[in-house]
Amino acid sequence: MLRVDDVHVSYGKVAALRGLSLRVEEGGFSAIIGSNGAGKSSALRAISGLVPIRGGEIHFGDQRLDGLSADRIVRLGVAHVPEGRRVFKDLSVRENLELGAYTRRDRAGINTDLEWVYQHLPRLKERGGQQAGTMSGGEQQMLAIGRALMARPRLLLLDEPSLGLAPLIVQGIARLLREIQGRGISILLVEQNAELALELVRYGYVLETGSLRMQGTAVELMGNEHVRKAYLGI
């Protein structure tokens, strides 16, 4: 479904990605793990069109993504929950969710999805009229994910959803991600928290200084000596 082939990204003269290739299957759940600055966010930003790529190709289904503007890519069915949540702080929770559905015109469908989000994230319903910026970090993360779902995407890109959140809230997010995958939405997750990521996904990629160090099923990676030492702290 998503094919990333030999993608290069650089900021000025600094290379952030040097030839990344990866796949996400239809309905699949994959993760990119790696430490801070390994290029994980750049990978997602390249896919969703926030940064131009310097080489390689990105395909989504039979559509070529690289070169398209970010708003076009959303319309094709790729939603990106950026690092740091980036909710619209001065807008209400409800307005944030409505903006997630900005590309859609099917009012009935939007309401159905809004109901789904409210049902699975009841805190958002309680706080519908509240300014998003006044909520806790965990609630803002929930809102950012809910907002992305409102676009009714086929592929969801998640950048560090667990960052800075308490373990209990992280568990809630993990449950939510499983539910989302259960709806048939493919997920590409980027996480520093390798333990969490490998618990959730089927397939993982290990990124180090902009290059792919290794890849494999979650079980394979969890058994790998390097991964255990460098990322799982075992």
């Binding site: 503007s69 702080k89 307005e95 409505e98 900005y102």
Partner: protein
Amino acid sequence: MELVLQSIANALVQSGFFSLWAVGLVLIFGVMGIINFAHGEMVMVGAYTVWLLYAGQGLPFPLALLAAALIVCLLGLCMERFLFQPFRENPLGGLINSIGLLFILQVLAVQIGGLGLMKHVPPAFPGTLELPFEVRIPVQRAVALVVSLGLLAAVGWLLTWTRLGWALRAVSMDREAAALQGISVRRIGMFAMGLGAALAGTAGALMAPLVRVEPYMGHAVIITAFIVAIVGGIGSIRGAVLAAVLYAFFHTFVTTYYSGTLATMLGLFIMLLVLVIKPTGLMGSRLRE
């Protein structure tokens, strides 16, 4: 007592103009991240359009007003397309381009209407409203106030209740996050520019029969708009309107009882104080990098 009441009436009319100038400036800055130095000249072009079409060609005033709004809106769209968009990555470039355009528009105005000659625009709505306590408001001013208020209410409605308005606010809060919702930042930028310019053009058209129409009338506009936008909290529309009302009263009273020069000087001083003490202004919650 009569003077106080009269000054209040004058200040109300002034509030409408100040708000229109500042809201346009803030809208453009919020969405595009560009300080439009030519904003005063947009107001001037609006006034000149009315002078040419209404005073010169005898077109009905409402039509001339509409034409002014459209022409300045078009000017704004052209600015966005040819002066700002090519400098997307470089906000300083956009700002410098707007300064260049400011001079070009001033020179054009001199070429068209000459310098120093009074460009008389007769009031389209003659007569005076006689209010209690001997307060008098020329009908032309009352009309200007009503139209300004109507426009501000429409902008407020747009920003609060429509998806387009939410998208506009989203872009001004976080361009990237807005793009990730499928919002075309470019189109929203165009829209903000067109709307901000149309507001400036309308303000100029409404002012034309009330002030001296001359090539450099934009100076006072941009200075006032800066003071109001900064005191209100740059990026905040509501803050801009609040500051516009406060500053209009301040300016009118100081002008009435002392002098206009002193009023503007004090206004700039207040702006500096706000920048030092509370850089986010009255309502602004954040500063742009």
